[in-house]
């Protein structure tokens, strides 16, 4: 036990020095899985509350919280929802002011976990299901975080405004003059999803693509939830980026939208969740982390929010897209972390806001 601890510390120190996520080969040293013990439950109940900083859009995070509160009566979940990039700034600001309000944290920009891990802000905690079932690319080697949900950025169009044969097939199609004034997209300085996808698209298609896209007079909204909403409302004919799951939910609710997975590949969004080391409610935080990564928790999240789970026993709802059938771009949190400031500055220069 002591040996493994020393090794972990040394590995962590190495990780800090290199400034990179620790490669998967030290997986063996990750902290042991922890089950929900009666002692943990008792201590969590005593705390009575847990504060979740979540970049998940409110209906989804609210649903997760409600189910947690139903399973563990007496522990209330307080959600502080904002876009990942805003949340990143907020947490940094709070920590520099020595405010430790957050217990657990979720972001749609996986790069933030690279930074938080380097800062030493995350607590090692491996829920039972993560240790047993999660593939290694979806859990941190040091047991600091794991992927709570997976989805992609897609295109979509309003079926009452665009005929199927006129619909875009991929990103490059959006540069056609017919899309002038008809597109909507979200902002990488607010949304972690769009930060991640901007990196992947710029890497694979070049910044050139964004420069041409800006000439289409794109409507610029903030959250990656907004573009699907604007298309469903009929305010814009198509979206240049946004969450695929919101499009699926709109379509299931009978609104005139159709999803398009771009031929170039859909940017892959992986959202980790972690317990913070300075949590004021450390036990409730761990209980929540266990709940979120349990098979039931993951299944319910995917069913409600039309997203994908890294948990192999979670079954996709019939009729919904299956992740392995979607051509995706490769995600790279370490590169996003290194280039984030530059990406934001370049984006603002191109799009004006």
């Amino acid at each position: 036990m002591t040996v493994s601890k020393i090794t972990r510390r040394r590995v962590l120190a190495g990780g800090v020095a290199a400034g990179l996520a620790v490669p998967a080969k030290v997986l063996a040293q990750a902290p042991a899985a922890e089950t929900v013990t009666p002692a943990l439950l008792e201590a969590a109940k005593k705390e009575g509350r847990v504060v979740w900083y979540a970049a998940m859009d409110l209906p989804v995070s609210q649903n997760v919280a409600k189910r947690f509160e139903a399973k563990y009566p007496g522990i209330s979940v307080r959600i502080e929802r904002t876009g990942s990039e805003r949340q990143f700034q907020r947490l940094a600001q709070e920590y520099s002011s020595k405010i430790y309000a957050a217990d657990i944290i979720n972001a749609s920009d996986a790069a933030h976990f690279v930074a938080w891990k380097r800062n030493g802000w995350l607590a090692p905690y491996v829920p039972e299901d993560v240790a047993k079932f999660f593939p290694r690319e979806h859990r941190d080697a040091d047991g600091l975080f794991a992927s709570s949900r997976i989805y992609v950025v897609s295109l979509c169009y309003n079926t009452s405004m665009v005929k199927p044969e006129d619909a875009p097939k991929g990103f490059m199609d959006l540069l056609h003059p017919k899309w002038l004034n008809r597109l909507v997209k979200a902002h990488p300085s607010y949304s972690g999803t769009i930060m991640t996808s901007t990196y992947q698209v710029a890497r694979d298609l070049g910044w050139d693509y964004f420069e041409k896209l800006a000439k289409q007079k794109v409507m610029q909204v903030q959250s990656s939830v907004d573009p699907p909403n604007k298309v469903a409302l009929g305010e814009r004919a198509a979206m240049a980026d946004g969450n695929d799951f919101n499009v699926i939910l709109h379509k299931e609710a009978g609104r005139p939208v159709e999803i398009v997975y771009p031929v170039e590949g859909a940017p892959l969004i992986v959202c980790p969740n972690a317990v913070l080391k300075a949590a004021s409610n450390p036990n409730a935080a761990r209980l929540f982390q266990s709940f979120l990564f349990s098979q039931d928790g993951q299944q319910a999240l995917c069913d409600f929010a039309a997203q994908h789970s890294a948990h192999p026993q979670v079954k996709p709802k019939p009729g919904r897209p299956v992740l392995k059938n979607i051509k995706v771009m490769k995600d790279d949190p370490v590169a996003v972390e290194a280039q984030a400031v530059e990406i934001k500055a370049r984006y603002q220069k191109i799009f004006g806001v």
């Binding site: 209906p59 020595k98 305010e235 984030a340 799009f351 806001v353």
Partner: protein, 527 residues
Amino acid sequence: MTIALPAESAVRRRTFKIDFSLPVLIAFAAVLCVLIVLPMSWLAYYSVVDKAGQFTLENFATLVTEPEFRGPMLTTLILATSASIFCALAAAPMGWLVARTDLPFAKAVRALVTASFVTPPFLGAIAWELLAAPNSGLLNKLYRHLTGAEMGDHIFNIYSMTGLIFVVSCYTFPYIFVLIANALDRIPGDLEDASSMLGGRTWTTARRITIPLALPALLAGMLIAFLQAMTLFGSPAILALPAGFHTMTTKIWSLFQFPPKPELAAAASLPLLVLTVMLLRTQQMILGRKGYSVVGGKTGDPRLIRLGIWKWPAVAFVFAVLMLPVFLPYFALINAALSPIATTLVTPENATLKNVWFTFGLSSTKIALQNTFILGALTATLGTLMALVIGYISVRRAVVGHQALGFLATAPIAIPGIVLGVGLFLTYTQPPFVLYGTLWILLLAYLTIELPAAYQQLSSAYKAVGNDLEDASRILGATRLQALRHITAPLLRTSVIATWCFIFVATVRELSAAIILFTSDTRSCRS
């Protein structure tokens, strides 16, 4: 006899009592300094240092040389200038019609202008999104329905500079209207009568008498409208960002994205502050000259001009103007709240309360509502208390330096909201007062914003009470604080209650803004 008894006991007790007046006064001065001087000093400090804390003018240089700042500055100037002109064009005739003519429904018109006055501007912006977004806006849908125009054709595009100027004007024109209407109410009818007796026709009277007398109020109103339009944040955030441009306020806001640039934000805030102070001084000078209009004494009621056949066109004009800030937006908001899709007309078949229940069912909404009421009550109580003491000190000239207190209490009028926000952020994210992320910082913000109005209300109440009674009490041996408690405070009860309510309502309205902004996220998800 009955008066002598408590006086005697007061004299007897006096030997055991220390007069706490001076320490109390010093304490309040200190609180005011923390509230106002501290944030503004940090603002000034940050604007002239670099990241390492070294003195530099680099921040201001960036401000004038970088296109990313020059653009928003120009935009803001255009926005504020055009908004104040449009407001004047709508508000001046309306004010004249309401105050000087026999316009039907004049009282109702004043009430409706007040309704647009109390509408938070960002709420108006959201409503106008629902009405005039180029594709989904109700008005554009109506246009396409009536003309059979193609999908994508529109007559209004709210996400544009014109759209922004329009919406800002809608919620700024009451400032001019109120000033004009009040000024015209006060112009004595005698002067106009004299003019017409001397043979001046209606138009000559208007040109030579009424307009010159009302002009200072119009200019003052336009300056206030300019200031409002310049410092608004909500409407540009909702309408300018989707269109891909910044105003100064949204630009300052964007400087707090990661990695934050507080130095630049401070430097960008200072011009707004300086301009506000200058314009307010100018406005005071203009209004100060109005003295010649009212010569004093009781004058005749203003003479109402008969509109004759112009009566109904005038009513139509006034209500057409009021459609824009009041009727249409509130219709759109109610429709959105009850309709399954925000921009579809609600019918008895599709009406739903789902949106309403969803918003109020959120635990975050409940917490926000609870916080709102706690904050509103706290701000009102503390604000009234401070205004009570500061008003007393400056009206009664209780200590040397009382002018400074009065000045400090009115100073926040000249601090635009976004500038105060930047100042508070710089101040309370570092020692000695780390309040960032707590309710206290909101309390401080609202206390600072509401203090001038509270101070003005209560100091005029003090002036009305007069100090004879208080002096009598002090001659009979009461300390200043005892006199305040037993004599002045009971006499001021009504004013105090009115001030408390005023601050409470103002704070809750501002905060409800925050809630609705917060849940608009959820509203749009479900709609």
